[in-house]
Symmetry: C2
Subunit: 412 residues, 2 copies
Amino acid sequence: MAGKDKLSTDPYKGVRDFYPREMFVQNYIFDTMREVAERYGYLEYSASILEPTELYEAKTGEEIVEEQTYTFMDRGGRSVTLRPEMTPSVARMVAAKRRELSFPLRLYSIPNAFRYERPQRGRLREHWQLNCDIFGVAGIEADVEIILLASQIMQAFGAKERDFEIRVNNRRALGEAFSSLGLSEERAKELRVLIDKKDKIDDFNVRAEAILGKPLDPSIFNWSGFEELQNALSDAGVKNVVHNPELVRGFDYYTGTVFEVFDISPENNRSLFGGGRYDNLLDIFGQESLPAVGFGMGDVTMRDFLETHKLLPEYVPTTDLYICVLQNEHTGAAQTLAEKLREQGLNVAVDYSARKIGEQIKAADKQGIRFVLCLGADEVASKKYKVKNLKTGEETELDESGVGDFIWSQEI
Amino acid sequence: MAGKDKLSTDPYKGVRDFYPREMFVQNYIFDTMREVAERYGYLEYSASILEPTELYEAKTGEEIVEEQTYTFMDRGGRSVTLRPEMTPSVARMVAAKRRELSFPLRLYSIPNAFRYERPQRGRLREHWQLNCDIFGVAGIEADVEIILLASQIMQAFGAKERDFEIRVNNRRALGEAFSSLGLSEERAKELRVLIDKKDKIDDFNVRAEAILGKPLDPSIFNWSGFEELQNALSDAGVKNVVHNPELVRGFDYYTGTVFEVFDISPENNRSLFGGGRYDNLLDIFGQESLPAVGFGMGDVTMRDFLETHKLLPEYVPTTDLYICVLQNEHTGAAQTLAEKLREQGLNVAVDYSARKIGEQIKAADKQGIRFVLCLGADEVASKKYKVKNLKTGEETELDESGVGDFIWSQEI
């Protein structure tokens, strides 16, 4: 192919390539989320990234659907959307098998989601997001459990309660405040969207007054249920909870408690993730309401948080041992030895290049692999193998049968 | 919402919802693939499902690109495609960091991929696919390792060598046969595509003759390199290898060995997956050739295979214990107990419904959870807990500190 026609090696704008080192971080984040979600009895589910567009039209929120979704016609003329968030999909799945499922139903998933936005710190066009949801519990226990779970995941990542703050509010209380102002549903929604953006705009007061016809009195946002929730969370061990009367959360479907986990460090002062109660989302499938509370925790913001707080672990490749081969004629012996060591449970790679041994060792080191074993005529004859720890430089001579145990003992 | 406007709870046509039981099978398949790939030193990577459309235009194959991709314009006017396969993405990633990476480079991923097709057995519009690739090895060792790895994964699933057959062929040998017929590149490609479809069409001979101007002589398809590959595989322990002179594999980018793992059972007589050598794919990025061999193993066909051969494991939920709560007033105590048991490493769910205890136990059983613990005034007072095994009906009285060890001992 001529140089002029050559393709770019860049990924699509706003999405990421994960090479093994990035994948390691991604897997660390996913595994930690997964472990804690399962500890609380949440069961894993999944759905396709591709959904019928209608799914988002009712309750996801206008800005997202009209300006930020990836929506297109398939070859059969159906309008489809790359999911911008997971909640409508899990609601659809629960609605589809409502009679067969047993409640309380706890579900989690770590799906990817797409939004067409200008890529920036903490926001990409594709991100992954842990979603935890509990269905069938109308009482405050579910709100408490979901917030406790969110807090426990933060702590499983090594965060301390002093590193973050859990801001809570209540959509119903907010609705009542709007009613007390005599606002129509439409005006109330306008005001809610405005409050959601308060931190991003300069003329909030002017705009609020334009909607209300008078200045906004902040005292209307009191929420009598806060203390009960705060006490219940405190009993469960969650102490870093505050009432934020201006917390709204973007989605239209919330009906009760909403919350947000906020990084309070000066270097990364921002909302990390959040969620809330959405008791009426199954309405869109023509079904009776089903109580539900959940949250979505994105990988991009979590990775920023972990970096800021120096909580990311050091890279360790999954490969334990790299076999360097002195001459081409020993490749067969190397493959046989590798196979025996794999049977001991080791993850083993073989170098087939027959280049200088130093270069082979360098290749292993570049991949972060900790142990190498060089195989030549001597080793094939003596059946004694020197295993070298590339971190310490130490070499240990071993029989074939001793290699696995030796490496396990060093890795612990 | 009025009944007439209600949304369907069906997923998009040809894709799947994974409820916990289906997710369990999916995770079993992925975990098995992952374990074996890592045992051979393959490192995990990942990329976005969304790629620039050009990536597939050069070498993926006309039928796929023109008739089967999900391709659309993003809101910025860029043509994007949901990847129909992973190889172009991994080639792009390797090309992007060629100087920083060390070779031989072994990579694996389990991405999803989309094709717009009529859904049928073994073929859906979205599937997941283990991709294993080794870069930087021109010699036969790489072909052997990749085929050995494919065979080892089959065996890790419990398949025996007698259950499947590995069919191999060589694209270069095929190219030479076409040259010997004096075919132009275009006619050769036409014939290759025809041979690839041989099993699906009735008038193969007529059509082949139309391309060639004379009947096709099958003896031209001999491949002198087969014995060497067969012997090397046999040395590595892979004995179920046959030469299939009509094996082509769909993608345009193959340059050498191609192979296919074929289910030879009468009930599921079909190709399961395959791969091959593609030494020139990095050309599309204007780079020097880089030797590469790989395969893609799809989850849909593997699940069919495992079902046919009764190799799927029984469902075991990740939740170990379900706490039933006799009266609402004991919910707090249940949450405290649950938290203590989670610290012992157990995965614990709590029922908040306060319905009849029998119904709570039924809910646990329906989810497949093996152990329940019922908490009422007696248990709160005595701090003795009866743990019931729902499979055997056996009840065991334990202190809080003994619950974890007891359940571990029962689960082994």
